[in-house]
């Protein structure tokens, strides 16, 4: 059994003390431990941003990729080796700004990867600019008079794109977040978990306190995660009350199940020998 210890790395953690990312890191490790996954069978893919350092801090296979490109890399990994548990970590800028297009497509394909978005409603690593999830009026260094765009609603986007598992977590509640992660990993298919992650430096509005006053748990209010209509209704809630928990889940065919060559097992461990091309060449004669 994997232990929390084994999942730690010697890299010094450089997140600000109090950053919501710590909670996400802990929850991910706990989920791996509690699900009894072997660390060698897990791959973490991270985008660029504060969240991107996850790969430095968790001792599973990791690939730290380009800004916004977590999902295509994760898709490639899953198709090459469907036995791996593939976790993608992205920021709100990463996932919903530059990487937005990939979300719709990965969701509709139902690629069996889990997408954990560290949503702090701001560009943190680049020292505080507006993000697609920034609330209107939010002052940043790129919007000194306040953000003026209507924000992206990630949950709505995921639902509209056909995501088969849509959830929201809160970095102020590690235990709940761990539960969500475990459910997402258990889920057969694409899963988005948008995690409300306080950034204590660049977002002084959406703080732990701000969230604590607002979040409530869907599972405590009898929400039916199998109802798409219900899910849409909950997805637009934001303000006085903010739901966390699983908004929606459904089972449908997995992307990698469509490819005949994968029926023989993972590509990555199929032996590589010079093939006999004769049948193909005969077609051309």
């Amino acid at each position: 059994m994997t232990t929390m210890e084994e999942l730690s790395t010697p890299a010094r953690i450089t997140w600000c003390p109090g950053c919501g990312n710590y909670a996400i890191l802990t929850a991910v490790k706990r989920a791996i431990v509690e699900l009894g996954l072997r660390r060698e069978e897990v791959v973490a893919v991270t985008g660029i941003g504060c969240h991107g350092r996850m790969t430095n801090y968790i001792r599973v296979n990791g690939i730290h990729v380009l800004h916004g490109r977590v999902l295509p890399v994760a898709t490639g990994i899953k198709l090459a080796n469907q036995r791996l548990t593939v976790l993608g970590f992205a920021g709100d800028g990463d996932a919903y700004s530059i990487g937005m297009g990939h979300l719709s497509h990965t969701a509709r394909r139902n690629v069996d990867v889990k997408y954990i978005v560290h949503d702090n409603l701001v560009y943190a690593l680049t020292t505080g600019q507006t993000s697609p999830t920034s609330e209107p009026g939010f002052r940043t260094r790129s919007t000194p008079r306040g953000a003026y765009e209507q924000p992206i609603n990630p949950l709505l986007q995921a639902l509209a794109s056909g995501a088969s598992f849509v959830a929201r977590g809160f970095a102020g509640d590690v235990r709940h977040l761990t539960m969500l992660l475990k459910e997402a990993i258990r889920h057969r298919g694409f899963a988005l978990i948008d995690v409300l992650q306080p950034c204590i430096v660049w977002n002084r509005v959406n703080t732990y306190e701000w969230y604590r006053e607002r979040v409530y748990k869907l599972e405590e209010e009898g929400h039916d995660p199998h109802s798409l209509e219900e899910a849409y209704r909950r997805a637009v809630e934001w303000g006085e009350r903010i739901p966390i928990g699983i908004l929606y889940r459904e089972e449908r065919p997995l992307y990698h199940e469509h490819f005949p060559p994968l029926r023989r097992g993972s590509l990555a461990f199929q032996p590589l020998k010079t093939p006999d091309l004769t049948p193909l060449l005969e077609e051309l004669s």
Partner: protein, 583 residues
Amino acid sequence: MVCIGIKDETISFLIGGEAGQGIMRSGSLLGRALMRGGLHIFGVNDYPSLIRGGHNFYILRASEREVYSQGDGVDLLIALNDESIELHINDLYPGGGVIYDEEGKLDPRELRGDVKTYPTPLTGIVKEIGGPRVVRNTAALGVALSLIGFNPETMRGVIRDTFKGREGIIEMNIKALDRGYEYAERNFEGLGCRVETSKSRDERIMVTGNEAIALGAIGAGCRFYAAYPMTPATPILHYLAAHDEEAGMVVVQPESEIAAINMVIGAAYAGVRAMTATSGGGFCLMTEALGLAAMTETPIVVVINQRPGPSTGMATYTSQGDLLFTIHASQGEFPRVVVAPGDVDECFYLTMEAFNLAERFQIPVIILADKYLAESHRSTRPFDPSRVGIDRGELLTEWSGDEEYRRYRLTESGISPRIIPGIEGATMLANTNEHDEYGFATTNPEMVKAMMDKRFRKLKALRREIERLNPVRVYGSEEAEATIVGWGSTKGPALEALRMLEGEGIKARFIQVVYLEPFPAERVEELLSGDEPKLLVEMNKTGQLGSLIKLHTGVTLEHRLLRYDGRPVNPGQICNAIRGVMR
């Protein structure tokens, strides 16, 4: 076996018509039939980026000897509409012939007196047999076969194989073929050319550059292919999608080129051979991830089929305008391989080599072709993948070590053994940020320098390996009076030009630079050290290979034949230019 054209031992057909009229299909039917008849063939198409309405044509050239490119003119024009007569009548050699539909408005006899004319009731035949308009083409092919005295039975076989399973279509085409053939037998005298089927012949395939690259990938054990459609690379996607089961390959059409290359990197990271293909515009979108592959040392293969730019330019024409871009693409500095096949065989074998180089050196390898090569047909001997084989380099499939695995171990060769994620006892951290041996991000100046040096150390063995792969190839006369220098698809026209020059008593030579990065400077310098006149031939405006040669060897190639209107260079153009420089 006999083949006599009007001008030489080759015979050329030009089939012209509107887009959507099945011109290319007819060209390849004819090509395959002649190949099965024992000839070597070369076929090139020309079409605008439109589904309907534009003018299309296909030139098929055949001979008993190998043919490397189109010639300067044609023996027989198969004009499926008036426009084709207008546009191509002057491509005919004196004494050539034109097959055309009686029903057309244009009479070729009014345009040129020195060619033979074969007005045929193509529309009439189609009506008679109750076929769709597109089988006019096949009727015209029947006429053509009769005119050159070629046994139509071979063509019947080709039709049966091509349309296998679609009996109605087969029947209709064979009917049209036979009617055309019979009509010509009854009404026309032969063209004066003669092509006979030989009985014994080498095994041969007719293949495009794209198909050869796709086969090379299959031959190399590529297991993952993701590509966004982009002319002229899309046929690779079509071929692989149609053969994914046989190839054991996952073939994906993702949402963009960015997604494509990042998927390929993901798959390669996870331990499989992976490839993508595109053209210049799509490659632009891949440049950032090319750097990711380099920094993470993930082996990938990228095919670029060039077309004229800048920007969208002309999607269906040809160019060699992306060489320097390809060599320098992406921020920062890193070793990469850029290799440019010159014919279908090289498309196959160099693609196989590309995978070995990518994995052995853990670098991105770029195969740089162009529309002319990618979409032209050639006949050749069946490919033999065992000639190259598979060498995956330092790939660990198990980890026994007591120590922690280090993805970026600082080794003398610069190559750090990879593992396949999922094996027991080790995990692998790949990092887009500069990193230490374990893959953890670092900004420590010594480590940063050490990692950059490590990556560049690979160049030493890489250069040696490339030398071994014969990076510069020389054709023609040892004691050349003139030298042609080029790369990529100009190889075909250049080899044809050598023959023509030889015929004129000029001893010439063609130097083909196959591996362009790392540049085989010594070899090129050595080859260019003579003082015979030299002609640089490229399909671009600025002479990009010329720049590389200047940079790496100091040699300035002053004489240049640069064509940048999207059309391939013709052998005759090269001969003219050579004559020019020899004066």
